[in-house]
Every structure is written in C-alpha cells, then in structure tokens.
C-alpha cells in the first residue's frame, strides 16, 4: 500500500485553476442554438395571458415556447426514492409549462430559443405575462399547525420513530428541557450554474449536464420525455460544485431536451443565477420542538423531537430531515423523532450539504448545551456521560467509534481547560469571549457500484467508472486505490468517468463515494490482478508457469514472487491481446448489516462579541474527526474545510429572504444572499484521528465529506451563549439577535 494515505494533489487541479477543464456546458457543439428561460413573477396563481409577438419578431429568434405550445412532458414518477440504486431520480413531480398554473416563485413560463444567448435573453425580456395571483399569508418557518404526513424520508427511514417510552420517561425525569429550534431556507449556489446542452441524433438524445448523478439524470430525462432510458446518454465530464444539489433531475433538463427536438437543433440553456434560487431545489426550513429529560447526574433518559419541514404544495418531500442523526447520537433508552411537513409554494427541495444532520445536530447539540447549564455540568462531561456505546437505533455495535478521543484531542488543541464556565466571564481587548463545543457524526453509507479496469499493451491502466467528479477529488482517489490494488505506478493509471455509457454508479452525495465507488474500484482491481496473474501462471512460456497464484503479487507493473518475475506487458503480449479487462459490480452483503458505521467529530469554537453593539465574530475553530483510514489527507482535509464553511454560512449569515406577503424570493443574487467570503472564515484547525476501521469495508474508510458541516452550527451558538448569555435558537445569527446584550 503506497499511494493510499498519501496527500496527493488533485489530478485535475492544474487544469482547473488554469481554465483548461471543459465543463458540461463548455462542450463545443456544431450548429448550437441558445435558449433563455423566462421565470414567473408570482409564487402562486395562474398565467392569464402571455404575449410573445415582440419576442418572436426579434432577429435571430428561432422559437418561443410557453405552456400553450410546449410539447407534452411527463412527471418523473419515481422521484420518491432518489438514492435507490435502481436509478430513480427526480427533484419534483411538477413539470412547468404544461398548464397555466404557477406553484412557486421563478417557475418557468417561457423558453426563447435563438441563434445567440444575447438575442434569447433580450427576447425573453420582451415577453409580456399577465397573472392572476392567489393571495396568501406566509411565515418564515414551517408551522406545526399546518403539518402533514411526509411521503418519505429518504425512502428508507420511518417518519415517526420511537424507542422505549419517550413521553413517560421525560415526565419522570428530574431535569426537563423544552425548547424550540428553527433553521432557515438555504440555497446551494455552486459557482457553476445549472444548465443543459441537448443534442438529438436519429431519435437518440445526448445530454451534457453538470450533475452529481448521471444515471439518475438519464432516467429522469427519459421519463420526462416518455422515451426508453437506453436512448439517452448523459455526459458530465466535470461539475463545478454540487453540494447535494444537481443530484436529482430538475425540470429544466426535460424542457430543454424537448425544445431541442422541436427546433431540430442542438440547444444549450444555462439557468440564470436568480433561477438557481427558486427552480433547482434548496435546503428547506425547519421548526423543531425538542424535549430532553435527564437525571441530576447528567444521565439522559429521553429525547423527544418533533420537526416540521417546509415542503412544496404538490408533493410532501423533505431532505432536511432533522430527526435522523439524533436517534443514534447518545445512549438515551427512550426516544421519539417525528418529522412532518408543512406545504408552501416552493419547488421540490433537494439535499444540501449534510442534509438533516446539519439541522438535526444543531438542535440536539444546542439542547445538550442548554442542559449542561441547567445541570451545572461541563458540556464535554455531559456528552461523555451519555456516550452511545452501541447504535441504539439499530441495536448494532459500531464498526469503530473514537468520539471520546475526538473530545479529548480537540479540548487539548483548543485549550478548553482555560474556559471559565461562567457566562460572560471571559474578555479579551474589551471584547466578550465565548468558548463553545458540539459533537458531530455522519453515517458511512454504501450503495452498489460497478467499475471496469483495463490493462493496455503500453503498460497503462484505464479505470472506467460512471461516477462524476463534483470537485471532491474522486478521480484522484480512484487512481490511488487502483495503483495500490493493482500494483501499478500511479502515473500509469487513467480514470475515465462521467458518462452513462460507463459502468453504473450511485450519486456523488452523502459522503459515500469512497466507501461505495472506492471499494468497487479496489475489488475490480483485485479481480484484474488475479486475471493477469493467472494468464502468466497458466502459460507454459511464462517463467511463472505452474506457480500458485496466491504466491504471486504485482509490484510496479511486474508479477513477482520475489525470485521469479514477468512484466505485465510481457504477459499481455504473449496472450496476443491489445488489452485485458474485467468488470465487476458490488452488492449489498449481509455482513454490512451486522454492524453500524459512522464517522464522528468534535467541534470547538471561540467567538468574540462586542459588548456594546453585540456584533459577533468567529475567532477560531478546532475540529477533530474520526473518519477511519484517510485515502488522501489533502482532498479529505479540503472537504472538511468546505463542510465547515457551509456550517459557518448556515450558522452566521446565509438565509433565503422571502416576501411573506407573496412568498417571493427577495435576496436572490450573490450580493444579497450572504454566503461566507474569506473574511467570514476564522482560523480552522481541522484534523483526523489516526485510526483505520477494519470492520467498515476493505478500504477501512468511513465517511468524510459531510462531517465538517455537522455540529459546528451548534458549537458556534453555544460559544455565543457562553459569551453573552443569549441563546440563539433560530438560525442564522443576525446582529440584532444580540441587541439585548447586557452592557
């Protein structure tokens, strides 16, 4: 094992930063037409008239589509289990431009197709739409009074989970905490906007699209168009950021593909930045009522969570499922975790960075902090006291768990011992200082994948996998895994990915790519290695003829047992073939369900608050994580940074602002939607514990990508409370929330 655990630079790094990478909507296509989607300016109601004559008369306009002339599109019927390996994918049942109804702000009402983007955009501005608006009154957060049953929770979880006797145990507890926590609606806003390039050829469709799941997109597009999946190819060479978005096929892809067929031209349409706020999914707001019952010694008896999430009016789905992570976090024998949804006029929500864990551990880790003050107990001691030695949701032992070590190492790095537990007691240069901490966790998931490995006559290896590169470093770690499992120099390995003609893989979400695609690559490489060795040992002309395959290994492209050897190229040449290839598909195995696997972490935060204005600043963050073996410490560390930045955005500044008189988005541009910039990010000291997890999978890895964004939100608010005595239970922080600071 030489390449795995090396902090290698990304293979595509230099090309990305020098602008050489071709993203999906950069691909050069002959005779390409361009489109511009026009969005509604109401969130609910209907189109009463739509005038397109001025747009049509513009020079260079090829066609204008509205609900009056748009070809029939079908609702993707299988949206309900998006992470099912069968390839079901769809953000929403609702397909725009099929009737006059408007069911969310920025919904498409027209598509202009023209010879250039500029003409299409100008013509789009000339379309006059009249509406009949359906009035309503709205609230910032979903109201439990409007709650309805959820259609699914990731297709696999119970929406109303309980163990023991949660209510009775809460009532019987010596110390009781009851609080309400809310989280805000958030937008992904990757640097690369969504968009589709659709090319038809003899009834077959090729779609170039930045997507975190090419196979899901293929199925979704085929369903929307009512055509066989086999006739659709989706190509996604690189993705300029996804963050949980771009995984479920959104309506624009079907609309653009249908329009391209109609105008009989290849068509490219990229969404506007503003449309990314309303049309391609978001992290929906949550409202959670939380009860914790404990004994005076800190033993938690019962945790009860009732979450209401925002959902569209046309389907009852939610991905910000606050009720999943808290089920297995602590050792409380009694638990209720119920998730419902309240409908509002919005498009289908999608997962966004640590979906569910982000809000779920915000509420749980905030509540634990509150409990620690009620008990007069150190927040770390309280968490250790309630350490979950097994996963109480599944009653399974962990594959590995080093959470207590995360607390200890983190506390030491951070200097937790210097914390004076008294609220508002710490000062620095006239500013109030607060220390806060919180736990984090994220499950290690696995979904079956397939991969093909090919040894070529020139001594190089091609790894062909459908998976997509969303910027996390997938193609870099695949090379590292393949190099080690094949015994071939890493420079000889080429990874080919991002095309539905390649072996099928699951979406790049939920931090499971290393455990799913990575282990599949390892296995296919083992299989290719066995294949190559057998070709040598079964051929009389080989010096290795007759040797037992188990005694041989491949090292640096040569089969060897230490004394006898033959280069792979020689083996291949003798076989008289241009290449040897092997393909493999991994499956769920019963072994996987005998233990529970999760990554864990501890977050520590220092904040400074101006005692006069109440303006808060993050000063430093320490994160220590237990993620099993780290294939590439550099790309893994970068993912943790990304997770932390997302958590800081959620905690401190990002929020959709909507006009509550009509539910339209108000801050729908990058100037108004306050994603963190460099100045918002303090010093981040993020590190992994040095443990592998032999029980988890053959690579001994656990999840990484999502963990940085879990728990930190609470740690920040806990630090603010420690500095000011003001508890922020509704994210994000805003300067006015600390206005009542005691001077």
């Amino acid at each position: 094992m030489e390449q795995i655990t090396k902090p290698l630079n990304r293979v595509d790094g230099p090309d990305k930063v020098s602008g050489k990478i071709t993203y999906a909507n950069d691909v050069a296509i002959d005779k390409l037409a361009f489109g511009y989607l026009v969005s509604a300016t109401i969130a609910k109601g209907r189109v009463t008239s739509i005038r397109t004559d001025k747009a049509r008369s513009q020079k260079g306009v090829l066609q204008v589509f509205t609900h009056e002339n748009m070809p029939k599109l079908y609702s993707p019927p299988t949206y309900i289990s998006p992470f099912d390996p069968s390839g079901d994918s769809g953000q929403q049942k609702h397909v725009p431009m099929q009737d006059d109804k408007i069911v969310y702000d920025l919904q498409y009402v027209a598509l202009v197709v023209a010879e250039s983007f500029e003409v299409a955009q100008e013509a789009g501005h000339l379309i006059e739409v009249s509406y009949e608006e359906e009035k309503g009154t709205y609230e910032e957060h979903p109201n439990p009074k409007d709650a309805e049953e959820l259609e699914f929770l990731f297709g696999i979880m119970e929406g109303d989970y309980h163990r023991g006797k949660p209510e009775a145990a809460f009532e019987a507890s010596e110390v009781k905490l009851e609080q309400t926590y809310t989280t805000q609606t958030m937008h992904h806003q990757p640097m690369e906007r969504h968009g589709t390039t659709a090319v038809w050829n003899a009834g077959r469709l090729t779609v170039y699209e930045p997507t975190a799941w090419i196979f899901g997109h293929r199925k979704g597009v085929a369903e929307m168009l009512g055509m066989p999946v086999e006739d659709v190819t989706v190509i996604s060479p690189y993705v300029g950021g996804a963050f949980g978005g771009k995984g479920l096929v959104a309506p624009h892809t079907g609309i653009i593909a249908a329009a391209a067929k109609e105008v009989n031209r290849p068509l490219r349409v990229e969404l506007t930045r503003k449309q990314l706020f309303g049309c391609v999914g978001l992290r929906s707001a949550t409202h959670s009522e939380v009860k914790i019952g404990a004994e005076k010694d800190g033993t938690i008896n019962s945790i009860i969570i009732h979450t209401t999430g925002e959902t569209p009016e046309f389907q009852k789905t939610a991905f910000e499922s606050s009720v999943i992570a808290p089920r297995m976090m602590y050792s409380n024998p009694n638990m209720r975790a119920k998730m419902e949804v309240a409908p509002v006029p919005m498009s289908g929500p999608v997962p966004m960075r640590s979906p569910g864990e982000a809000s779920g551990l915000f509420l749980l880790e905030s509540a634990l902090d509150e409990l620690s003050y009620k008990l007069g107990m150190d927040p770390i001691a309280l968490r250790k006291k309630n350490h979950a030695d097994i996963n109480l949701e599944t009653n399974l032992p962990w594959t590995s768990k080093h959470l207590n070590e995360c607390y200890d190492v983190g506390a030491k790095k951070f200097g937790w011992d210097k914390r004076n537990p008294k609220i508002g007691s710490m000062r620095k240069d006239g500013m109030l200082v607060g220390y806060g901490m919180a736990s984090g966790s994220y499950p290690t998931l696995f979904h079956p994948a397939s991969a093909k490995a090919k040894f070529l006559a020139d001594g190089t290896v091609e790894l062909i996998v459908g998976t997509q590169e969303i910027g996390t470093g997938t193609n870099t770690i695949i090379r590292q895994i393949a190099a080690d499992y094949l015994g071939v120099a890493i420079e000889k390995i080429k990874v080919v990915m991002g095309n539905t003609r390649y072996p099928k893989t699951p979406p790049t979400v939920a931090a499971f790519t290393a455990a799913s695609v990575g282990t599949t690559v390892a296995k296919v490489c083992e299989q290719l290695k066995t294949n190559l060795i057998r070709r040598a040992t079964t051929n009389e002309a080989s010096p290795l003829f007759g040797l037992k395959a188990e005694t041989l290994n491949i090292s640096n492209g040569t089969i060897t047992n230490g004394t006898k050897e033959e280069s792979l190229q020689t083996t291949l040449k003798r076989a008289g073939r241009p290449y040897v290839e092997t393909q493999l598909q991994t499956q769920y195995s019963p072994e996987m369900f005998k233990k529970s696997s999760s990554s864990f972490g501890a977050n520590f935060v220092e904040v400074e608050v101006d005692p006069i204005t109440g303006w808060a600043s993050l000063k430093r963050i320490v994160g220590v994580y237990d993620c099993g073996k780290i294939i590439n410490p550099k790309t893994a560390h970068s993912q943790l940074i990304g997770g932390c930045v997302f958590a800081i955005g959620m905690a401190m500044q990002e929020a959709a602002e909507r006009d509550l008189s009509n539910f339209r988005y108000l801050n729908s541009d990058l100037g108004g939607y306050h994603m963190p910039v460099q100045a918002d990010i303090p010093d981040l000291d993020l590190s992994f514990l040095d443990h592998t997890d032999k029980e988890a999978n053959i690579l001994e890895v656990k999840s990484v990508g999502e963990l940085g964004g879990v728990g930190l939100q609470a740690a920040i608010m806990n630090a603010i409370y420690h500095a000011t005595g003001i508890r922020i239970r509704s994210l994000p922080y805003k300067p006015e929330k600390l206005l009542e600071i005691a001077e």
Partner: protein, 335 residues
C-alpha cells in the same frame, strides 16, 4: 436587441452637450452600477457618454485648505492615496468597507455618489418602485410592518430604501462638498444639500441638474478633525451592504471635542448626518458617557416600523462604538 449610441467626450462641456442632445443619455465612468442595470433591463439608454476620456478628472490633490478628489479617481486610488490617508482618513476607512476590491478598482468617486438603489424591488422590474418609475409607490412603504432593511430617517411616500454608499457617509461626516460643472460655470454643494429625500414626482434623489456633471469632491480641512472611524455592521464581513454603518470624525484637543462630524449609512433614504448630536459634542469631553448622550440625541427622531424597530437601538449602539473607535484612532494610525 437594444442598440445604443456610444460617445466619447473630450471635455466636461462636450459630455454635457452630448448628453443633452439625446433622450435617455447617461454618463458612464466605471460602469459598475449602470451596466448591471442595463443587463437587468432597469435602464435602457439610447446613448452612453463615456467620460473616462476627459483628462484631469482623476487627480487627488491637497490644496492646503482642502483635499480634492477628481470624479474619475477610482475608489481604490482614493482609498490608497497618501493624501487621503493622512488628511481625510475617514474617506479611506469608509471606502474600503464598500463592495469588493474588484468593484472598487472600477468604481469612481462620482459614480459612487450617484449609485442607484440596491433594493430588491428596484431590481425586480415586475414590482412597483418609486425609484425606477416616477409616481410608483413601493409596497414596503405602505406595508404596515415595513421591512428589516428600510430607513429610519427621511421617510416619504415613495421609497424608503436606504442609500447604499459607504463613501458618501464618510464624506458627509467630514462636511464635504460636491463640485458640479455645467456648460457655463461650476458650483459647489455641501453633500447634505446635494441629496434630497425621495419624492413621488420623480426618481431623483440629488439636486444635480440635467446640464451638470460632478467633476470632484472637496473635503474641507478647516474643521481640524484629527480622529476618525467607520464601523460597518452587516450580515457578511465583506461584499455586503451595511445593516447600519457609523462614521465619526472628531477634532479632539487635550481631551475636549472642538468639532464633531457624525453620520450613518443604511438608516436614511439618503446618507444621514446627525447635526444635533454633532452640536451636542462640541466643547464636551471625549468620554463614553458623552458619546452615549450624543447617540441618544441622534436616534431621537427615528421613524421605525415593526420590522426595522431594532435598527433604532442598534444605531444608537453603533454610534457609541464608532465614536469610541474614533477617539482611539488619531489620524495617521489607521491604514
């Protein structure tokens, strides 16, 4: 397509003449605001008169009595100028809190003063907006509870969105004057006389005439300010407009305030100066208790609604902190 004429001007007079010859003509300098509005379909110019080609409008000078900034000096050039940093640091302190480095590199002094509303209703052409269309009334003006961002001062029946500039707030505290040139002559207007509260009849908020052009800003040195600070509290630590900003300039001699300049951003429909608070501070000791009293005076005639009520208290606190910061920041110690 929306075609327009592009004219390069060689002198200010040429520029004014060209602008008057065609309907919907606009001067263009950095373009960091106007080009955005053209893309969004908010402005449909028939002519852009490029004033970048006029020489002599980029200078930054110290005349002894004043510091003078040419209208075409970039925000970056102004913020980094030794003359500004040494003699009117509040201009630099406020400028660097505005926009981003990239925008400041392009944006000019005159453009900054003339920048348009940043309100979402202004940018949403489907919404009513008194600053886009004369006679329109913004829905937030009539909404019972208002909105979080709206102004506390200078309210009117057309538009209550706050003025976005940071630089203008700093300049206002320093009692700067705008230098205006017409075809015939030049005149100077104090910055607080240059802006006016929005009116329903038209979309303008300045007294700039159709036949006039801003050629520079003059910062008088006669007030003897020797301490200053700019505090911008906002939802993101960079590239965000203020929630509220405070600008303070003080002439402190042996602990006594001889002269004070106090202004605030994002609380007025135009950059807002607190003259009564300034007068109160004159002759007083530079102490926190006097700063607190001055801040109380400043907020006394604020007109909040429910959704922006918090801004009154926040403004008061920000003004106290800004004055304390100014006291701790003598000229020559910042930047």
């Amino acid at each position: 397509m929306n075609f327009f004429q592009y004219t390069e001007a060689k002198t200010a007079r040429d520029a004014i003449k060209a602008k008057q010859e065609k309907e919907a003509s606009y001067f263009i300098a950095g373009g960091s605001n106007l080009v955005d509005m053209m893309k969004e379909g908010i402005q449909h110019p028939q002519q852009l008169v490029d004033i970048n080609t006029i020489s002599g409008l980029r200078d930054i000078k110290n005349t002894g009595d004043t510091v003078y900034l040419g209208t075409l000096a970039s925000n970056t050039a102004a913020a980094e100028s030794e003359k500004i940093i040494n003699f009117a640091p509040l201009v630099s302190q406020s400028l660097v809190k505005g926009a981003t480095q990239q925008i400041r590199n392009m944006a000019t002094i005159g453009g900054n003063l003339m920048q348009e509303s940043r309100c979402p209703f202004f940018y949403d052409v489907s919404a009513a907006c008194g600053r886009r269309t004369a006679g329109d009334v913004c829905p937030t003006v009539t909404a019972k509870d208002g909105i979080r961002t709206n102004a506390l001062f200078g309210l009117n029946e057309s538009c209550n969105t706050p003025h976005p500039s940071d630089m203008a707030v700093g300049m206002l505290a320093l009692r700067s004057k705008v230098v205006l040139q017409s075809k015939k002559d030049t005149r100077k207007l104090a910055l607080d006389k240059f802006y006016h509260i929005p009116v329903k009849e038209n979309t303008k908020i300045t007294h700039l005439q159709d036949d006039e052009m801003i050629v520079g800003v003059e910062i008088p040195l006669e007030h003897g300010f020797n301490h200053s600070a700019y505090l911008k509290v906002r939802d993101r630590k960079s590239y965000a407009f203020a929630l509220i900003s405070g600008a303070a300039a003080l002439n402190i001699q042996t602990g006594t305030i001889l002269n004070a300049g106090l202004a605030s951003g994002w609380v007025g429909t135009i950059p807002w100066r607190f003259e009564e608070a300034e007068n109160f501070l004159q002759g007083k000791a530079a102490t926190e208790s006097n700063f607190r009293q001055a801040a109380k005076i400043a907020i006394s005639d604020a007109q909040p609604k429910k959704n922006n009520a918090f801004k009154v208290k926040l403004l008061e606190k920000i003004l106290v902190r800004t004055l304390l910061m100014a006291k701790e920041t003598p000229y020559g110690t910042n930047n």
